[in-house]
Amino acid sequence: MNLAEFIFNNFGRIASRTGEHVVIALSALFLALLVAVPLGILLTRQEHLAKPVLGLGNIIMTIPSLALLAFMLPVLGIGNRPAIAALFLYALMPIMRNTYTGIKQVQPSLIEAARGMGLRDFQILYQLELPLAFSFILAGIRTTLVILIGWATLAAFIGGGGLGQLIWAGLTNINYNLILSGAIPAAGLALLADLLMGRLETILTPRGIRKTRVKEVKHAFNKD
């Protein structure tokens, strides 16, 4: 049986594994966003915490992924939950760091102008800092999501679902079709995520702060 036939015959199974895969990666990402973005903001307000917290995050990043998954087992048992928890921990760091840097790179003079005009602290955050940090945060989410989709294949090793199950089963049975029917969609998902996030960034960034400024317009209308 060739690969095409294999995929055709097992389409339902592959599709549901792909679905699980997406759910695992996105859940981890979503949970990480809930925690990491506010944490990143907090760090910009409590400068003295920034160094130790970002340092701790870096340490988590250095733990090998399989080992981290294994650490989760005694606490959360087997299945998707420990996998999501481990991926969540990985996702925290890049998102938190990008939120922090994104806000820190906002020009202090903008913030001073805003405060001088009577914006309150939360208005400065929502109207100025977060929108201007947005492309940084989104870039963090983009790389994180791609990594999470890759690492979500490991969930199968601790009893979770996802495309890792196909790869794992293929490895134990030395069934290449099975391995590839897990690996190809996983790679495809990662590419797709990257592409979609890129599109999202273009759509959501206001014209005024897109990196490629509209030079022609500038020249044509330059009165001074």
């Binding site: 003079s109 001073e112 405060r115 001088g116 005009m117 914006l119 208005q123 014209r207 005024g208 702060i209």
Partner: protein
């Protein structure tokens, strides 16, 4: 009206930035703060909208103590423009201008109306510019929007910290004119900080010169130019800008530096030759150390030409002025002694130059 009463600010690092600053800015007055870098101009400004809290002293706006007001509400009543143009880059021109009106929850149509009216006031077509982003404007246009943003909620008081500092000279002058126009139209009380004396002289109703956190002099541009309080103010304004009376100008500033002169021991023929060369009818006679001795005129030389004499023997005494004497003294001397010129000497009698009637006339013309 803004009143500072004995306002001081010492930063936590013990820098005394402002020291017992007292000033009342009348309603509708444009006061310019100027002074060397670090003299406390920005600090003074920021204490008005409470971005900085004074260490001591009080600031009143229309007789209300600013300390008694909520700082955020206070700031929304005060226009604020800073040097880095600081428009919000992710918001359109219209949204930028509408910042404070939106904070104050004005109805949409009133906000739109205000934005369009303000844009028209600085000759920027609302239909063209409303939806532009700051990055799509020239520097001068951006700064105009910065000023409009501060004006939008119609504040009575405006604080402007070197708003035109980053602009090229032509645009700067243009914006100064516009501001002056605007000021007459909208009658705001404006506190304006600058480094640029020409800018201050041009736009100010009153100039406040600061040094080390204190006011050195506060006066109208006219009074400042006529009566600088001290040497600091004088150098700060720049000698060339000062308006001075003839008794404030020294002889050496007006004199010709290379008068026709010859040593006393030379003969009459040499004297005549020197006069011809310099195209003058009188020679200043000096000794070997350039000490001034007297004057010989062409007629006297002609009369004695046949005799074998030195210049010294036929020269006559002549009144002189010191180089630090005033031009007025020189002119008085010329009138009293009925002479057409006076030599200028230093305090050891050395010849430095000459003041002639033509020179005095030119000087007077320069200052008219």
């Amino acid at each position: 009206m803004v009143s500072f009463v004995e306002v001081s600010k010492t930063y936590p690092n013990n820098t005394q930035a402002v020291n017992s600053f007292s000033l009342t800015v009348a309603k509708g007055e444009l006061v310019v703060l100027i002074g060397p870098s670090g003299c406390g101009k920005t600090t003074t400004l920021k204490m008005v909208n409470r971005l900085i809290q004074p260490t001591s002293g009080k600031i009143f706006i229309n007789d209300v103590d600013t300390d008694a007001q909520d700082p955020v509400e206070l700031r929304r009543q005060i226009g604020y423009v800073i040097q880095d143009i600081s428009l919000f880059p992710h918001q359109t021109v219209a949204r930028n201008i509408a910042t404070v009106p939106l904070l104050k929850k004005w109805p949409d149509d009133k906000v739109r109306e205000t934005v369009d009216r303000l844009l028209r006031m600085v000759d920027m077509d609302p239909d063209v510019f409303r939806n532009r982003y700051p990055s799509e404007l020239s520097g001068g246009q951006q700064q105009r929007i910065g000023v409009l943003r501060a004006l939008a909620a119609d504040p009575e008081v405006m604080l402007m910290d070197e708003p035109f500092g980053a602009l090229d000279p032509i645009t700067r002058v243009q914006l100064q004119d516009e501001l002056k126009n605007l000021q007459q139209k909208v009658n705001k009380t404006i506190l304006f900080v600058t480094h640029d004396m020409d800018e201050a002289l041009k736009i100010a109703d009153r100039i406040v010169i600061m040094k080390d956190g204190q006011i050195v002099q506060a006066a109208t541009p006219e009074d400042l130019l006529r009566q600088p309080a001290n040497d600091f103010v004088r150098t700060f304004i720049g000698e060339e800008r000062l308006i001075r009376k003839p008794d404030q100008v020294q002889a050496h500033e007006v004199m010709l530096r290379n008068p026709a002169c010859l040593e006393a021991g030379k003969g009459l023929r040499q004297g005549l030759e020197a006069m011809r060369e310099a195209r003058v009818d009188s020679l200043l006679i000096i000794d070997k150390r350039r000490q001034f001795l007297g004057v010989v005129d062409v007629n006297t030389i002609q009369t004695h030409l046949k005799q074998n004499k030195t210049l010294q023997e036929i020269m006559v005494d002549w009144p002189t002025v010191g180089e630090t004497d005033s031009v007025k003294t020189a002119v008085q001397l010329m009138v009293e002694q009925n002479v057409r010129f006076v030599p200028v000497v230093n305090n050891s009698g050395k010849l430095k130059g000459i003041i002639t009637r033509a020179r005095v006339v030119n000087f007077v013309l320069d200052y008219m």
